[in-house]
Amino acid sequence: MSYLFLHLKREFGFLLRQKYLVVLLLCTFAVSAFAVISGLSEVSQQRETIERLKSADLTERLNVQTQQTDAGMLAYYTFHLTYSAPSNLAFAALGERDIYPWKHRVNLLALEGQIYESDAQNPELAQAGKIDFAFVLSALAPLIVILLFHDLFANERTSGRYDLLVTTSSSYFALWGARILVRFILLLVCLMLPFYGGAYVAGSSIYDVLLITTMCVAYLVFWAALCIWMGKQASSAPRVASALIGIWVLVAFIIPILGDLAINKIVHSPKGGEIVLTQREAVNDAWDLPKQITMDAFVASNPQWKDHVDMQSEFEWKWYYAFQQVGDEKAAELSHAYRDAARKKYQLAGMVSWFSPALLLQRSLTRKAKTDAIAAFRYEHQIRGFHKCLREFYYPWLFIKGEPTKAALNNMPSFSKTILNEKDEPEVIGVQLK
């Protein structure tokens, strides 16, 4: 033990004397800390936004309820907040939340007309990409590893110290083992320390933190081993680094880009605009169609209301909402195809990521942090489920009972309750998710 410690201590002191390594490690720490702090601030902003929205949503709903009593008007004017709160790990992997919306307000009108509204952030900032811990780790850390490890052997060779070092050291470990270990440990500390701080602040579970640590260590070991293996016989440090950076470019850019091109060729997805257009046409045409046609189509998919579809006047809310739903149903096929295509793409991207460790790690981290496309699909699924609850709530009043009672309004479905009651994970990409 003391043997190990002595050698590590010496190499630690030795490393501290090499200024560029110290600068490199300090920069790594600074970038990692910046990523974690900005991630925390982003997540807390998202949480605050959700809280503000919740209270504003409630105020507005109560406001509407004092002004409107008719079920149809209530359904028209009452919007319901849905949201997907960031997880305790989201600070480390902000993931796709800048592209996929994590907040929506819906009313009883056709959902297909509402669900594609995006409340995206500044697109120019989104295009530059945000710096989060997952990015630092998956994209940046390999480069740091390359800079730290590529010249381990070559540097000593070109300086003519290699033979002397090897013949002097008492064992392979005493020299290379200790050097590698010290560099690795210091890098790990610089990268992970901010993450642990962030995890503590965000209250992430120990299990998740350990799991992520394991993933990170495995990933960094992979890159370090690659660097050491490539550098072992080499005598020109820049040559080794060029080859390593080439591999990095291949893994981080080229493979994902080619995968993206291939996937977009393989998977055909309907144009998003078509869904809304179809739904829109259906809803608008309904105004000019004989009411019976709309009601028949509605009853076909909702037989429980078949005894209540007769109309007394040219405009009735139940007919209005029925054609909204029929509009959704007309667009359903396209909408399914659209979602299936997105899922298929995600699945295929998963296959591509096996060829790119950087992607694999990024995907694993965003999956753990529930900030990936799957989480977004799931949220969309929840919105659809919630919209169905809304219909189930309003329809009895619209079709049979008339004005909803105060008690009923108090028990109106809310998104928070719906997701709390959700027992089973929805089937999102064809397989049951854990």
Partner: protein
Amino acid sequence: MTTSTAINQRSPIEPQRVEQTRNKASNTTQATKNEAVIEVDSLNFSIKNNIILKNLSFSVAAGEVYALLGGNGAGKSSTLKTLLGFNKPNKGSVKVVGKEVSKALDFVRGKTAYLPESATLYPHLTARENVEYFLSLADIKKSDEQINAAFNRVALQQDAWDRNMQTYSKGMRQKTAIALAILREAPIFLLDEPTSGLDPVAIDEFNQLVRELALTGATILMVTHDVYGACQVANRIGLLKNGELVGEFNAPENGRINTEQVHAAFGDYKSRGN
């Protein structure tokens, strides 16, 4: 400059003294002749189809200074590298203290102190820090006094001890490396062209040091193309040509050189031999 002060402080070592010390060493060599510390027996080494060493055999005993003399590309460095375990022999054996080098690498390296041709240590560290660093690599702990003593012994001027080695001349670097070798207390020294690039005074100082080390019972193998230096410091000289040992003789008394034999190892050997 530092070198000039060295000259002033230490007068060139008289040949007489060198001679004396060497004779003493030869005596001890006689006594321990049977205990060969380095044994190279019919060593063959080639890289791809390129034969580097051919049937090379020689041995060095404790207290002996053996110089392997040869021109460029004669196979001197390859022999050293094989002794250090960097090259694996294709045939034959290379033993140090009775152990096959390739089978007891750490043991052999623990017993040998190697002095590379251009002894570059870490330029961003001081001589003392370098020595401490390398000693620690070898699991050796030395006190400051012991290190000071070693520096004194190799005549490294005191004001340079705690200066970054960036500023060192080649001779000073060499001295530091020897101090390191001495501090390792290894019984075997492998010296690669130790005097190339040194000024005459430094060469004399170095030769004196090598003789003293041999007196303490160290086994010293040096490879060099410096005929005169080899004759001055070695007890025995092996002549290496195209990977073969073409001659081995005891160093001439009074440093007089048998030019016949020397030429055999160098350039005009070819014209004669063929």
